[in-house]
Symmetry: C2
Subunit: 189 residues, 2 copies
C-alpha cells in the first residue's frame, strides 16, 4: 500500500490521533487506510461416510487436496459464501447443517469459518480452480498431501467427533511455530 | 475507491479474467483491488446475574448502549480482539469462555463474532469511546436504547439460553427489511 485510494497522493505510516497503532494515512487528504483480516468460508461436504475433497489447480499448494473454501465476498453471508465456494470449486450442491469450526490464522490475517454440509447429489465435477474432486472415506483421506494445516485440523476434529458420535462446534487458532504449524483448540464455552 | 494503492493510477470497475464479479482494477499496473467483509469481535462480560454494557461516546449511535465490540485487527485472533475491545471500551478484564454467536450483516459487510466472558474484577471505567459503563440485570437492560440490532439479538438469545439453563452456540443473519432490521437464526448444526 503506497498511494491513497481516495486522492492518489502518497501515504505515510503513523498513529492517527485517538488511535493506538500505526496506520497508512494520506499525506494530502488525511484518509486513514485500515487493514483487517479476511474471512475464508468453507464446507465439509458429506455423502454418507465419505467427504468430498478438491485437488487444487491453482497456487498456493497446487496439486494438493483441500476442502472447498474461499474468500467471503461483500453482500453475502458466511453460509452463502461456503455454499458458493463449494459450487465453484466442485460444482457440488450442499445443504449446510450449521457452523462447525472457527479458526484464527493470525500469521496470514485470515479467519476460517467452516460448515458441515450434506451433498445433495453426486453430480460434482472439478471447477476451474480444481484438478479433480473425489469422495474419500476416513481410511482414504490423503493426510500427507493436504493443502493447508487448517484443512488437516478440520478433518481431524471431524473424524474425532464422528467416532464419538456427536458433533461439537470448535474454536481454535492455527499458528506458525518455526517451520511448523500448530493448532491450539479452545475449550467449548 | 478511485486510485490504485500500488501505483497511484486510476481504477476501472470490470470483471477480471477468470473472475465472475466486477472489481476495481488498475488501468496502469493491472492490480485487482478486492473488497471483503470485516470481522467485528465482541464480548458479553458477565458478573453473576449481570452483564456489562457501554454507552457510546462516538458515532454511529452516540449515547446508546452496546456490548463491547470492535473491528478485529491484523495479527490477532478473534478472541484476542474481543478481549482487547472490552479493555479499550470499558477498561474491563474478562476471561473469555468460548464462542457464543456468529452473525452475518451482509447489508454493511460485517461478520460479528461474539463471545461470553467472565469479568475478573469490578475495576471497570469508560474508555475513550464510552460515556459510561455499567452492570445491568436482565430487568434493567435498556432495550429501547440499545445501539445496534445485533446487540439486541445477542442479548435476547443470551437471556433465552440462561432461562433454559444452558448456553448454545448461535448462527444468524441480521438483514434490513425496509426501514426495519430482522434477525434470522439458523438451526444448530
Amino acid at each position: 500500500m503506497k498511494f491513497c485510494s481516495e486522492c492518489g497522493s502518497g501515504l505515510t505510516l503513523r498513529i492517527p490521533a485517538g488511535d493506538n497503532r500505526p496506520r497508512f494515512v494520506c499525506t494530502h487528504c488525511g484518509t486513514v487506510h485500515y487493514q483487517n483480516p479476511k474471512v475464508v468460508a468453507g464446507c465439509i461436504p458429506e455423502w454418507g461416510q465419505q467427504v468430498l475433497l478438491c485437488r487444487r489447480a491453482i497456487e498456493p499448494r497446487l496439486g494438493l487436496w483441500t476442502l472447498p473454501a474461499g474468500f467471503m465476498e461483500n453482500d453475502e453471508t458466511t453460509l452463502q459464501a461456503a455454499t458458493r465456494e463449494t459450487l465453484e470449486e466442485a460444482s457440488a450442491r450442499v445443504e449446510i447443517h450449521g457452523l462447525y469450526a472457527l479458526f484464527n490464522l493470525p500469521h496470514i490475517n485470515q479467519v476460517y469459518v467452516m460448515f458441515r454440509g450434506r451433498l445433495l447429489d453426486l453430480d460434482f465435477a472439478p471447477g476451474s480452480e480444481s484438478l479433480e474432486v473425489a469422495l474419500f472415506s476416513e481410511a482414504a483421506i490423503p493426510w500427507e498431501t493436504l493443502a493447508f494445516p487448517v484443512v488437516r485440523e478440520t478433518l481431524r476434529l471431524y473424524y474425532q467427533d464422528r467416532r464419538r458420535g456427536s458433533f461439537q462446534q470448535h474454536l481454535g487458532d492455527i499458528f506458525r511455530s518455526g517451520e511448523r504449524y500448530e493448532a491450539r483448540m479452545h475449550a467449548p464455552g
